[in-house]
């Protein structure tokens, strides 16, 4: 297990209280907390390095440009892309996927083509494809799932055909934590020459990513889920594909030249970065990447497995608690989606909130998955490098409090179906 108590000290917010209790932060799947170094990098930028990037004819500007581009190089190394030009900065994973949908799918897909996703995807890896489907007459197909909500890899050929032009899947499910075997999907994508997109919002922050080894065509991720600032996303794309795509948004920075009635787009990566980006955010993101690299993503993943090995058996012992997600902890990240009999997830959230415990309640932007399981939503506790055994213990105490407040042990007189 990582020395998480020491790591915790790097995160100022984890020293604070919520509702008069020490903050137990179990919502990193939604957004991670930030170490002091990242916060410093962000404010230092505005304090003494702030200037717009590109073409500024003064030191502050070209140094800001260098810092901005340094992050690009660090992202390239972090996910082992071939070259920095394959790294596009966006606002978040959602924008990265929309960029593919608009610049690639809207232009290259035609009526009758198919896009393969799954019912476990986050809305941000579903709705952009639905928009393409509506506009282009493209069909959306779904990878069959196993009973414990893994992709059923053996059955993928059933939903695959020559018409499949894009396969887009998550690296890890945000709702129930399943880690998917991207190489198996990649194998199928290559067979039919489909574009392989990975929604890496929950991937790069918890799992080692090597885009060349995965052999994906696109990998989308968000800085704020990996200790970085909000408002910074990444789209990795293979150069040859990015080059044949049209620009996503028009404006400053994305052009090579503009004349009275036309323009010529800039080369990669500027072609996809119109307008002034989140410079301070991108600069601070580099520090987050360094922090993760120092600890080691593989170590973080192992740490989360150990937390789960401690938490899952304990939670299973509590009567009234129902857990979702695979029990194979090697195929699962640090996510615990659960329900307590007869208690709505929002009520669980409110009781835990009063105990200083931050969890998320609802459909987790995965309505199709919730509908498939047959529930309106779950309560979700998610863990990261700064969480440890005592956070699990606090969660369990909180759950016991829920059971007490809702008097589950005394009365079981629900007269109508839920």
């Amino acid at each position: 297990m990582l020395d998480y108590k020491k790591i915790k000290l790097d995160f100022p917010i984890l020293q604070t209280q919520m509702n008069g209790k020490p903050l137990v932060f179990l919502d990193s799947a939604a957004s991670s907390q930030k170490p002091q170094k990242v916060i410093d990098a962000f404010s230092d930028f505005y304090r003494c390095r702030n200037a717009n990037i590109h073409r500024g004819a003064y030191r502050l500007s070209y140094e800001a440009t260098d810092l901005y581009e340094l992050t690009r190089t660090k992202v390239k190394e972090f996910i082992n892309a071939r070259e920095p030009e394959e790294i596009i900065f966006t606002r978040n994973t959602t924008e990265s996927i929309n960029l593919i949908a608009y610049s690639y799918a809207m232009n290259f897909l035609k009526e009758g083509d198919e896009i393969l996703v799954s019912e476990m995807e986050h809305h941000s890896n579903l709705v952009p494809w639905m928009m393409v489907a509506q506009k282009k007459g493209v069909k959306i197909k779904h990878i069959p799932l196993t009973e414990d909500y893994q992709y059923n890899y053996e059955r993928i050929p059933e939903v695959l055909s020559e018409k499949t032009k894009i396969i887009s899947v998550a690296h890890m499910s945000n709702a129930i934590g399943t880690i998917h075997d991207l190489k198996k999907i990649s194998y199928y994508a290559k067979q039919i020459n489909a574009i392989f997109v990975v929604d890496g919002a929950q991937g790069a922050c918890h799992l080692p990513v090597d885009v060349q080894e995965i052999d994906c065509d696109f990998y989308a991720m968000s800085a704020h889920k990996m200790l970085g600032p909000t408002g910074v996303g990444v789209l990795y794309g293979k150069r040859e594909i990015l080059e044949k795509m049209e620009p996503f948004m028009g404006g400053g920075d994305m052009i090579l030249t503009v004349w009275k009635d036309g323009y010529k787009p800039a080369s990669l990566p500027n072609k996809f970065e119109a307008g002034t980006p989140n410079i301070a955010g991108v600069v601070a993101y580099a520090v987050a990447l360094d922090y993760l690299k120092n600890i080691g993503i593989e170590n973080i993943h192992q740490h989360e497995i150990e937390i789960m090995q401690y938490a899952i058996p304990k939670l299973k012992e509590i009567p009234f608690v129902r857990l979702f997600g695979t029990e194979d902890l090697t195929k699962r990240g640090g996510v615990i989606s659960f329900l307590i009999d007869d208690v709505h997830p929002h009520d669980i959230g409110t009781v835990l909130d009063q105990e200083g415990i931050a969890i998320r309640a609802g459909h987790h932007c995965c309505e199709p998955l919730m509908k498939k399981i047959g529930i309106p939503g779950t309560a979700r506790a998610s863990f990261y490098l700064y969480n440890g055994i005592e956070d699990v213990d606090a969660l369990i105490k909180g759950i016991e409090k829920v059971i007490e407040i809702f008097k589950l042990k005394e009365k079981r007189y629900i007269t109508v179906q839920k």
Binding site: H344, H346, V351, I414, Q417
Partner: protein
Amino acid sequence: MSLNEDLYKEIIIEYSQNRKHYGELPEANIHEEGVNRSCGDEIHLHLLLENSTIKKARYTGQGCSICMASTEMMSSFIENQDIKQTKSLIEQFKAMIMSRDDISMPSPYEDLESLKGVKKFPIRVKCATLAWNTLEQALKEYEKKV
């Protein structure tokens, strides 16, 4: 602040777990749906109105205990009430929940006062008011019809 005293009072837990008016109403002539987009609470009201009187009220859907208790209480109180009385009750309930002043509910509606605690939990106010807003909309639809 105590959860048991302020939000999850015994009476709320009881109403939310003992839903006598939960279910479909085949003879209903007004159906109205209310959704809290941010949390997913969803109430379908089924009302039978005759000569401006609510003869029967049922509901389906799902939501948290506050939402369910509020809907259950509301359904039990509006049966056999005329539209005018009901509108006034909606107004009084909303005033109690929204107002900074401490407003009480007249007899026989005192049980509704148990929901007053949501004032201390601002994000839960919409859970308590969902059914009432849905009812208000349902009555508007009915009045448009007749």
